[in-house]
């Protein structure tokens, strides 16, 4: 078995884990991160993209609200290009209670969350599709965040500071040393899920940042961390309905957030406690609830074309658990479709504040820290707390630097919607487009595939938004497979030029003379590129996996024009390509079964 040695080993490649690696590397620790799939494959890649102002929690969860507004201000500096400065409205709909808005405004003042009440007419002029019956509107510094790009940018910041990030490396064992009273985690065994080889990593300290999977990681060390897993379902519309984040001004509930993100609007979410973060079903009542509630924000939302539905799972944690709500009464739509053996519980009441578990104090186990709870908005603060605790355990004092260290790409300024189209038109790149829906060019795809392992096309989707538009992969799946096949069959790559992660979002990047800042030292450049010959899956498998992955997310919302679109995709992949009769033998990628099992149970009883 191969071995490596490090000071800090981070488990989990979501926003938090990547943030921990970035923070630890900036403080000079030798750092390795392992993630069982692709970076952002878990909850980070499955949320609505809201950078909270904290206002949502001012009356319910003040600790979380304070964390959010403080981090909101910091991330606008450190991750500028990952954020669209949309601003946010909290609107009072006719259904909402009367005294909440005043209590809300007072709480915002108390907690230093900037809140301005504006006349409903002014809000409607800015957002004409908003419900004209709203009675009050508050404006707050909410924003839209690209969690894929932000995590990649953080990861690049971590790599530049010397960290090693290992996606597709699954933790299989934590090694304990010492006897009673002196137990410590000293090493981990991870499985490279692409090559099938094992690797042992000796570490002074392990930071468990596995989000919804944290309880499982802790169990490998013999300690109990009981997570509350709150599933949230979201829907994306085929166009932006508003350019401002819209929240209902009421106690947080289901379907009361509408976030404009890139070319779509996302309505979310539900909140249902689940047992298993791997199998998240999307029930019809959840889709219907999102549409019904969405109509209260933007009348007619339920008749707009829905592109996709997906579910993420919040990793919530409370040392003392809240009592579950009573089981829903008969006739409550929520009682449908829930597994009969589980007593239904809703995790709306669990705190969103971060949770740092120092297992030395909590369980008498050295060498392990769990950082969980929290929000995407507070990932940097979570990382800071975890690495502060790590310094304590390791007996060193090194100040956190992340709040004042921008990640690569911030010089671009805030994201704006016309960014890609502008580049395509300025550089005349229409003919280079591989995905017309999301304006992805061939060079963006090739660049992403050369910098990140491509086990499935879904990995590239997260990198460049491939297949995220109205046709949901109808045209670009085939093209991407063809391009990756050429890369796989091609020559070894020359030493990669310095690559700014923001280039993954830039159609024009390869068509400009200045390709960014001067190269860093050689070892870092090498680590920035992967050899697609080894890391790109067999093309027919890429095709089959991605078709199934897309299907999983469209099946819950297929009706009307999107059903027709799917029939065109069938025409292409069955009738023209005959892709269901390609030689794939019995090959499976590490994600093939995941794409199959994640589909909606409402369709699985056939």
């Amino acid at each position: 078995m191969k071995r490596m040695q490090t000071e800090i080993l981070v488990i989990g490649g979501g926003a938090t884990g990547t943030g921990v690696a970035w923070d630890a590397a900036l403080r000079g620790f030798r750092t390795v991160l392992v993630e069982k799939r692709d970076l952002t494959h878990g909850t980070t890649g499955r949320y609505h993209g809201l950078l909270h102002s904290g206002a949502r929690y001012v009356l319910k969860d003040a600790a979380s609200a304070v964390e959010c507004i403080s981090e909101n201000r910091i991330l606008r500096r450190t991750h500028t290009h990952c954020i669209e400065d949309t601003s946010g409205f909290f609107v009072v709909a006719p259904e909402d209670e009367d005294d909440y808005p005043d209590r809300f405004a007072a709480a915002c003042r108390r907690l230093d969350v900037p809140c301005t009440e504006i006349p409903p007419g002014a809000a409607l002029r800015r957002e004409p599709l908003l419900n004209p019956r709203i009675s009050r509107v508050f404006e707050l510094p909410d924003a839209a965040a690209d969690s894929f790009l932000a995590t990649h940018a953080t990861a690049q910041g971590a790599r530049q500071a010397g960290a090693t990030l290992l996606p597709y490396h699954e933790l299989t064992r934590l090694h304990l040393s010492g006897g009673d009273g002196n137990r410590a985690v000293s090493a981990a065994t991870v499985l490279d899920t692409v090559s099938g080889r094992e690797l042992r990593i000796d570490a002074d300290l392990v930071i468990n940042a596995a989000g919804a999977w944290s309880g499982w990681v802790a169990a490998l060390a013999g300690v109990e961390v009981k997570m509350i897993l709150g599933k949230g379902v979201m829907l994306a519309t085929n166009a932006r309905l508003t350019n401002t984040v819209i929240n209902r001004c009421k106690m947080p509930g289901d379907g009361d957030i509408l976030v404009p993100i890139h070319t779509v609007s996302v309505i979310g979410t539900t909140d249902v406690q689940v047992a298993d973060p791997e199998n998240l079903s999307i029930e019809q009542w959840e889709v219907d609830l999102m549409l019904t509630e969405g109509d209260k924000l933007v009348p007619g939302l339920s008749r707009s074309r829905i592109l996709r539905a997906w579910a993420g799972v919040r990793p919530l944690y409370q040392e003392t658990q809240p009592a579950g709500e009573p089981a829903p009464a008969a006739g409550d739509p929520r009682s449908n479709g829930l597994p009969a053996q589980d007593s239904p519980q809703y995790s709306r009441d669990a705190t969103r504040a971060l949770a740092l578990l120092n297992h030395r104090q909590r369980d008498g186990l050295r060498g392990l820290i769990t950082i969980t709870g929290g929000k995407w908005t507070t990932f940097r603060l979570m990382a800071e707390s975890a690495v502060d605790a790590a310094c304590g355990q390791l007996g060193v004092s090194r100040p956190c630097r992340t709040a004042h260290t921008p990640v690569p790409g911030v010089e671009q300024g805030h994201y704006w919607l016309g960014h890609r189209l502008n580049e395509v038109e300025e550089e005349n790149l229409q003919s280079e487009l591989i995905c017309e829906c999301e304006l992805v060019t061939r060079s963006m795809l090739e660049g992403a595939a050369q910098r990140n392992p491509t086990v499935t096309l879904d990995d590239l989707r997260r990198d460049v938004r491939l297949g995220m538009g109205p046709c949901q992969g109808g045209f670009c799946t085939y093209r991407a497979v063809g391009i990756l096949h050429s890369l796989r069959a091609g020559k070894a790559l020359p030493a990669a030029a310095e690559w700014n992660v923001a280039h993954m979002q830039s159609p024009a990047h390869h068509h400009r003379d200045d390709t960014g800042p001067a190269p860093a030292d050689d070892s870092r450049r090498r680590s920035a590129a992967v050899d697609p010959r080894a890391s790109v899956s067999q093309p027919n498998l890429l095709l089959r996996d991605f078709l199934q992955e897309r299907w999983k997310g469209v099946a819950p919302i297929l009706w009307g024009q999107q059903l027709r679109q799917e029939r065109l995709d069938e025409l292409i992949y069955l009738s023209i390509l005959n892709a269901d009769h390609l030689p794939v033998d019995d090959e499976e990628s590490p994600l093939s079964s995941f794409f199959r099992s994640d589909s909606s149970p409402s369709t699985s009883n056939l």
């Binding site: 045209f475 297929l558 009706w559 027709r564 029939r567 065109l568 025409l571 069955l574 023209i576 369709t603």
Partner: protein, 467 residues
């Protein structure tokens, strides 16, 4: 009533156009109205009869022999082999006369791209002789743009030399920078299936300075003699003796047959020894087209050919007319209304043929509540009861998704039926993908259903008019 139409066809896809042709040739006054141009130009331009049975893993070798395995209500079972074969024969005569010959994809190589259509003897063929043909119903296997074997019955002559029954080695030649064609991927998949295949990429810089590599742009370019000469030279340089060459189906919008012939001749002139002479007509085709993603040039050519023949028969095809209403009393439709630019337009005819397609064509619509509707006359449909029954968990499930089998049930005359099994109207007929009990995309029976049911419905109308 001299000016009254005998048949108004709603829908301008392959079903509607071929039905209009069949009725007009029989002497009926026919018109076609449609919302859009039909989905013919999305498809590969081949005539797929039945590639896979429901639940079937292996391709159907002979569709005529496989018909008994289809469900009893399947449109093919209403027709029988002879009626289908007759319709296909009519179709072949039509496209041959239009200069776009279609040939059997499987079996021998009697027809090649380089032999002119008038040589083909199709016009004088005795249909009865064809039906004794031992190869009747035998599917061929053509190469898909990802290198899989497509089960096809009739192919445009331009695609036929790609038949995988032929064991000549293959060169798959792409055009540099074209986003919709990946020759190396096709060749690798052909190799994995035991074929001798390799790939090449031809430089486009010499052909055009434009960066546009879309199929339509390339096809227009390759209609020009200078571009044809350049491409011919490039293919000859790339191909080894004895190889046949597969190119993306962009070899011309109006003149692809001439370009294929040029390349064939140039290859034969270079390698006179290896050029094969398998039949009475001399050189065998050595070059063929492989269809691409929509928009499809073979589909566009087919659409153009059909419309040209209809034009000669005096049949108007009106696009941009969506039906917005109709008037009926009892079991008789009196008129329909279409949306036009200024005002609704009323159309009166003795008979109406619904050829609006399925969910893809827009003839059937499924809404969020799980209601599946026929979009023009709101005819009763055979469809899953609830939305939970529409789809299966796996996209590529061999059985297909139940919602895509939703459609109109018809009797043997192709009159739509109500729940009691009686015709809804006495002068409304239905054909093509709007029919129930078939999933033409999953079965690879799209064009077969279109041609055979369109022809049968039109013939039923003709018989009714003669009474």
């Amino acid at each position: 009533m001299a000016g009254v139409l005998d048949l108004l066809v709603i829908g301008a896809g392959l079903t509607g156009l071929f039905a209009a042709y069949t009725a007009a040739r029989a002497g009926l006054r026919v018109r076609v109205v449609a919302r859009g141009a039909g989905s013919t130009h999305w498809h590969a331009g081949t005539i797929d009869l039945l590639g896979y049975l429901p639940n079937g893993q292996d391709a159907v070798a002979n569709w005529a022999q496989a018909l008994p395995e289809l469900p009893p209500a399947h449109p093919y079972r209403l027709l029988g082999v002879d009626a289908i074969a007759q319709a296909l024969d009519q179709f072949q005569r039509l496209v041959a006369a239009a200069g776009l010959p279609y040939v059997r994809a499987g079996g021998g190589m009697a027809f090649t791209a380089s032999s002119p259509p008038e040589d083909r003897n199709l016009q004088e063929n005795d249909p009865a002789e064809q039906f004794d043909d031992p190869r009747l119903g035998q599917n061929g296997a053509l190469i898909s743009p990802v290198g899989a074997a497509r089960p096809v019955y009739l192919a445009p002559a331009a695609q036929q030399a790609g038949n995988l029954e032929d064991d000549r080695p293959l060169l798959i030649a792409g055009l540099d920078g074209m986003p919709d064609f990946y020759p190396a991927l096709i060749a690798e998949n052909l190799q994995r299936q035991g074929r001798l295949a390799r790939s090449a990429s031809l430089p486009l810089d010499q052909l055009t300075e434009r960066r546009d590599r879309s199929p339509l742009h390339l096809a227009r370019l390759l209609d020009r003699p200078a571009a044809q000469a350049l491409l011919t030279e490039m293919v000859v340089n790339a191909a080894a003796p004895g190889e046949r060459v597969g190119l993306p189906a962009v070899l011309g919008l109006n003149d692809h047959a001439r370009l294929l012939e040029k390349i064939d001749r140039a290859l034969a002139a270079r390698d006179p020894d290896t050029a094969q002479t398998p039949d009475r007509r001399g050189a065998c085709a050595a070059v063929f087209e492989i269809p691409t993603l929509p928009p499809s040039l073979p589909g566009l050519r087919l659409d153009t050919a059909l419309r040209a023949r209809l034009d000669r028969l005096g049949v108007r095809v009106e696009i941009g007319m969506e039906v917005c209403g109709f008037h009926a009393t009892g079991r008789r439709i009196h008129w329909i209304e279409t949306e036009t630019g200024s005002r609704p337009l009323r159309h009166t005819a003795r008979n109406y043929l619904l050829a609006t397609g399925g969910i893809l064509g827009g003839g059937i619509h499924g809404d969020r509540c799980g209601h599946v509707k026929e979009t023009v006359f709101d005819l009763p449909l055979t469809a899953p009861q609830t939305r939970a029954q529409w789809l299966r968990p796996l996209f590529l499930d061999k059985r297909g998704h139940p919602v895509f089998r939703a459609g109109v049930s018809v009797d043997h005359r192709f009159l739509p039926l109500d729940r009691s099994g009686a015709p809804v109207y006495d002068n409304l007929w239905a054909a093509g993908a709007v029919l129930a009990h078939t999933d033409p995309i999953r079965e690879r029976s799209r064009e077969g259903i279109a041609i055979s049911t369109g022809c049968a419905a039109a013939n039923a109308v003709v018989r009714g008019q003669q009474l």
